[in-house]
């Protein structure tokens, strides 16, 4: 007799395999071997096969016969056998899937290809990274993520960056570059001394960015750039003074010369920083997800230092306004600008003109986004920049009671599909909250697994992070466990689709203006937040609530739910879910009302949140842009500007490019009707980051969401 194997090859039937398999299941249940039992099963199966009289039979059918036979003898053993069989099937499927996915990548048709706006899957250099991504995911699924969570993954919860789940990487961080630069550090095998000019400092900065990005998988933020770079600009200034004195006798002229040279040096440095970062490539074949923190000019600094800080701020913003060659908007680094009452926010503040310059920059280039100091202190404990696109750390005080912000990180995010839980609850609030707590527990457990994986990492495994001071200065053999405790690092529980959840549960989403809906939203948000606080208290690990970016997840969750529950109007019929607590982006709403509505949820999401205002072309209405940014000061700690400033590289028109009729992805210039993708620069906010629509193809659901976005140009 012959057997048809799963790969459809035919092999000779080997009866002993049946007794071996049955024996394994028996041992699983009783912990001992019973040859008599094995033989009974074997004989029973052979008898059945004889009766059927086939000369060739598929392996799965033989297995069904085995199950029936064992059931007659011992139900417990039969269950063990079924379990074993399922696990083997899972393993086999995963292996088969892996081959298929790798095939798809090489032939450039994988979903992976477009999964984040920063990886271009059509390029050869990306293929290796994409393959390592699917291998990593596959490994995580088979060996690191317990099966019970795997069943929920992509359905009720989502394990972000599952590729890295089983690997000793953390997510995003605030680099303690100021400390590194002050004391010198090792970069690879080279000892870098403290820089002696701003030009060198900025060059070293991009080198460090490249190294750190290759040792982490999330965003890398360089905080407090303005005050941090000042000492090196002072060194430069003094050098220029020394040179000046050699050639010029007139002291005031020496001074003028030195400042003039310094200005030029700062400008050049910022220009090269912009280009270097754009063209960097990490070991993951991505441009690093880099964020630069433009913090306030320090009002307590000396006049000279304040002047320098102002110059650095202006240089960074002016460089960004200028754009890359041809006037194209840079996608990286992301810029975040610190708004502070009494420093820059209002007319009359000493550095109000810098705020105005930032507004011009946002109008033309969408960045900077804005961190509102007072609200940030209220929500997160102290002022700090976001890590990457929107992740915020809580406050942490060292032994001396000093707030420490730089050198900290996030080690994982698991998100909850709020919409799905609501659909499953079928309008029953109690059922919803029970499953919400279950999902929260799942997230926590998964993050604890991440904790256990990372706690054994030794400092020497990522010297740039743990030995050179980007995160800390540990000894080679030290583990990083202490860094994971006491809220020094964060572990985040995210959520997607508050709006869709409310609609599924109560029939009315965030666009319902009655107080009842906002009370319901608050109840859900408070439940999420309290859980995180509670776990933080219990475990001393920095659990925090995170308004997930869900760039592709918003689509994945929705698609999965449509498959399982069908199309439900108002809930999942858009093809995507709304991000975190966001008001539906296809509904027209005054940006002021939007900020009001989102304020509470944004404040509760202290582990990360961003409120967007969707605006049209604001380059011709800076007054409005300035007003809405100022209005956000008391509403949200983090404001993102989603304005539109596309450029036609053919006729030079700057303004909004519209999609052609019946298309989500084909754009044309409204002036010259140019629709050549190579000659259109179209940049949109994808999640917390920008994306160039043509250079980095975006997933379909996100493109649809972008097309549906209603700009707050005015509302009825």
């Amino acid at each position: 007799m012959q057997v048809i194997k799963r790969d459809s090859r035919k092999k000779e039937f080997i009866p002993e395999r049946i007794s071996t398999a049955a024996g394994k299941a028996f041992i699983e249940v009783y912990g001992r071997e019973d040859k008599e039992f094995n033989n009974k099963v074997l004989n029973g199966v052979l008898e059945t096969l004889k009766q059927r009289g086939e000369t060739i039979i598929p392996i799965e059918e033989i297995q069904d016969i085995i199950v029936d036979e064992i059931k007659l003898l011992d139900v417990a053993v039969a269950l063990a056998y079924i379990n074993y069989r399922e696990e083997r099937t899972f393993e086999r499927d995963k292996k088969g899937e892996l081959d298929k996915e790798i095939d798809n990548i090489i032939n450039a048709v994988s979903e992976q290809t477009n999964s984040n706006g920063n990886l271009d899957g059509s390029k050869i250099q990306t293929i290796r990274a994409l393959i390592s991504n699917v291998v990593g995911s596959n490994y995580s699924q088979r060996h690191k993520i317990p099966k019970k969570y795997l069943k929920k993954h992509r359905k009720s919860i989502y394990i972000h960056d599952e590729t890295y789940f089983g690997l000793p990487f953390f997510n995003c961080c605030l680099v303690d570059w100021i400390n590194m630069f002050e004391n010198g550090f090792d970069l690879g095998t080279t000892l870098i001394g403290t820089p002696n000019s701003i030009e060198t400092a900025v060059n070293v900065l991009s080198q460090v960015a490249s190294h750190i990005s290759s040792n982490t998988y999330g965003g890398t933020t360089f905080p407090s750039l303005i005050t941090g770079l000042t000492p090196y600009a002072v060194k430069s200034l003094n050098k220029h003074r020394a040179v000046g004195k050699l050639w010029i006798e007139d002291k005031t002229k020496v001074e003028a010369y030195a400042w003039d040279r310094l200005g030029k040096e700062i400008e050049d440095s910022m220009q090269s920083l912009e280009y270097e970062v754009q063209t960097l490539m990490t070991s993951r074949a991505e441009t690093p997800f880099l964020t630069l923190g433009i913090n306030n000019v320090d009002l307590n600094a000396s006049d000279e230092n304040q002047k320098i800080q102002k110059m650095i701020t202006e240089a960074i913003l002016n460089q960004r306004i200028k754009g890359l060659t041809g006037g194209v908007t840079p996608v990286f680094p992301k810029l975040v600008y610190q708004n502070t009452k009494g420093n820059n926010l209002n007319p009359g503040d000493k550095y109000y003109d810098l705020f105005k310059l930032a507004v011009v920059c946002s109008a033309h280039r969408q960045y900077p986004d804005y961190i509102n100091t007072d609200k940030a202190i209220e929500v997160t404990g102290d002022y700090k920049e976001c890590m990457g696109c929107r992740s915020f750390l809580g406050s942490y005080q060292d032994e001396e009671g000093n707030y420490k912000t730089a050198g900290r990180f996030n080690f994982g995010v698991i998100s909850i599909n709020l919409a799905r839980l609501a659909i499953e609850a079928k309008g029953n609030e109690d059922v919803f909250f029970i499953s919400l707590y279950e999902a929260l527990d799942d997230c926590k457990e998964l993050l604890m697994i991440r904790y256990d994986i990372l706690k054994n990492v030794k400092a020497k495994q990522a010297p740039i992070l743990y030995m050179s001071g980007a995160i800390s200065k540990l000894k080679a053999e030290d583990t990083i466990e202490p860094l994971l405790n006491n809220g020094y690092a964060s572990a985040s529980i995210g959520y997607v689709g508050l709006h869709n959840c409310l609609t599924a549960l109560y029939g009315k989403g965030l666009n319902d203006s009655t107080g009842l809906t906002s009370k319901r939203a608050t109840k859900i948000m408070k439940c999420l937040r309290d859980y995180c606080d509670d776990q933080k208290e219990k475990t001393k690990i920095g659990f925090s609530l995170y308004g997930s970016p869900a760039e592709t997840l918003a689509t994945k969750f929705c698609a999965e739910d449509v498959l399982d529950f069908g199309v439900i109007p108002g809930v999942n019929d858009n093809g995507y879910y709304e991000n975190s607590f966001h008001y539906p982006s296809n509904e027209l709403i005054s940006p002021f009302d939007k900020l009001d509505l989102e304020s509470e949820s944004s404040s509760l999401s202290s582990g990360g949140a961003i409120s967007f205002v969707e605006l049209g072309d604001m380059t011709k209405n800076l007054v409005a842009l300035e007003d809405i940014i100022r209005y956000s000061y008391d509403k949200t700690h983090f404001l993102g500007i989603s304005s539109i400033s596309d450029k036609c590289l053919k006729c030079g028109y700057t303004g909004e490019m519209f999609t052609k009729q019946n298309s989500d992805t084909e754009f044309e210039c409204p002036v010259c009707k140019n629709d050549d993708k190579m000659l259109l620069s179209i940049i949109r906010k994808l999640c917390g980051y920008l994306g160039s629509i043509f250079e980095r193809p975006v997933v379909n659901g996100k493109m649809k969401e972008i097309k549906n976005r209603k700009n707050n140009k005015g509302c009825n």
């Binding site: 007054v623 007003d627 005015g714 509302c715």
Partner: protein
């Protein structure tokens, strides 16, 4: 008077966030080729402008960030007959002297001042975007305009000084 629509917190028609009123009806005959809102050329289009409509506009202007009212059409200058618009701008000038009133017309400034009713109205207008839309002069890159013949005139100031002042300060690069 009828109006086609009102936009609140509008960022497109003028400086800052504004309330924009689109009145119904335009008497221009023949109408401009390529008119952007042919429906609103009928005088009975849209809804009747009532006291409630006026109140909602006044209410919107109370917000500190709303910088003023923009009146578009249709043709505002063909809608002065029943005194509704004049009453509206008078009230706004009284209640919110710091807020600006912008108006779009297909007639030129020179044409408008010949008519006493229109002239009176212009005394309340800070910025008049004047002149018809001429399709062959179309240029969408020009601020607040459709074609290059159209001008932005500081109307109130022009009347005061008795000369046409082209207003460039409305545009902030």
């Amino acid at each position: 008077m009828n109006y086609a629509s009102i936009f609140f917190d509008d960022t497109v028609n003028g400086i800052g966030f504004r309330t924009s009123l689109f009145v119904s009806g335009c008497a221009k005959n023949p109408p401009c080729r390529g008119c952007w809102s042919p429906l609103a050329r009928k005088f009975d289009y849209g809804k009747t402008f009532t006291k409630d409509t006026k109140d909602s506009i006044i209410e919107s202007l109370r917000k500190p960030y709303v910088k003023g009212l923009s009146i578009l059409g249709g043709e505002p200058m063909d809608n002065l007959g029943d005194g509704t618009l004049l009453d509206l701008v008078k009230t706004i000038r009284e209640m919110f002297p710091e807020k600006t009133i912008f108006c779009w017309s297909g007639y030129t400034f020179e044409e408008l001042i010949k008519d006493p009713v229109r002239l009176e109205f212009l005394h309340y207008v800070d910025m008049l975007r004047d002149g018809e839309y001429i399709e062959i002069l179309r240029d969408i890159t020009q601020y607040l305009s459709g074609s290059t013949n159209q001008r932005m005139i500081a109307a109130r100031e022009s009347l005061k000084q008795n000369k046409i002042i082209i207003e460039s300060s409305f545009y902030i690069p």
